[in-house]
Symmetry: C2
Subunit: 203 residues, 2 copies
């Protein structure tokens, strides 16, 4: 395994690859936060996902990436070359099952995001976003309550289908209602998780 992998470090805001580039590499994030997004011709952006340590990037079966990837924080990643990986898959067919499981999981997440984008209000979107961040932090064994929120308002807005200003206003309102609070660094503390979770589901 070791000889088909190479490491790489990205500074914040570096583009790892862009939509349409040949998808000859696969990455695994070991540290930091990244985002993947698509653009409309006039520049409107939809961020389709945020990626954290442990997540894979570029593992579709297509020949070109159909989205762009950019780092948000400093990021460390492992790079696998696709042809080598292909040989590995032929040697160990059980890995294919893992890949399929990962794709299935992503598909479920994508459907959640469609519900959010199509049918939730601004407040419900932000609440869902914070709950999701907190749960994902817990899943990878990081602190889930004062949760780290490394992305900017603009990135959060482009993920939730909102403007920067609306995103900021919702955060302010949640703070004012004592449901969340700012903490040193990029951390946000969830003061009333039940209320926040209820908001997220529109109840």
């Amino acid at each position: 395994m070791a000889d088909i992998v190479s490491a790489r470090r990205l500074q914040p805001g570096e583009t790892l690859f862009v939509e349409g580039e040949p998808a000859d590499r696969l990455f695994n994030i070991t540290a930091g936060t990244m985002m993947v997004y698509r653009l409309l011709p006039d520049g409107r952006r939809q961020i389709t996902g945020f990626l954290f340590p442990g997540d894979f990037l570029g593992f579709g079966s297509e020949s070109v990436y159909h989205y762009s990837a950019e780092s948000i924080t400093v990021v460390d990643l492992c790079r696998f070359s696709r042809p080598e990986l292909q040989r590995l898959l032929e040697r160990f067919p059980a890995m294919e099952q893992r890949l399929f499981g990962m794709a299935s999981h992503e598909l479920a997440a994508a459907q959640d995001q469609m519900v959010l984008l199509g049918r939730k209000t601004a407040q419900e979107k932000v609440a869902s976003f914070l709950i999701m961040l907190s749960e994902r932090a817990a899943q990878r064994g990081q602190k889930s309550n004062p949760v780290s929120v490394p992305m900017s308002r603009s990135q959060i807005g482009d993920y939730l289908g909102l403007s920067i200003e609306t995103t900021s206003r919702v955060f302010s309102r949640l703070k004012q209602k004592k449901i969340i609070a700012r903490r040193p660094g990029d951390r946000i503390e969830i003061l009333d998780r039940d209320t926040l979770a209820a908001m997220a589901e529109g109840a």
Copy 2:
């Protein structure tokens, strides 16, 4: 293969399975149109996809369905039982690769849909929808220009993240601008595909 399959016919509006049910079956549509959707507690609905002949349904790797499925027209489908399929997969590992390819393809479609839901206007959404319907009809060898649109305004709206009324108004406006025209049955003719495609991408 033949002995693990059974056929089934659905009348319009029949529910095939609901969110949360154990996902022990997999289906392939041989005729008709279906939809898959998720609901929020208060009844808001997001339709996450429409399915046509040749499409598979319920092929995730999870143990329960995380969405509901309902027929739109009369539908014929083949049913596979999951445990049998599992045995088949172990005999023919190459099939896993096909499954992964399908999941990848769906993931790409889901990302397109996120761009649509998060960043497109009502008119861009409807234009994208019609182009998509037409292209998918062509892909399965059906007539792509007077294209069949079997779903109701309410279903289209819940797919595009719009209200019934807005959906209807956009259709009216496109008709009035001579970009589309109603045809007998559930067909819509695309009179100016270039303009419609340009609208879809927001240009």
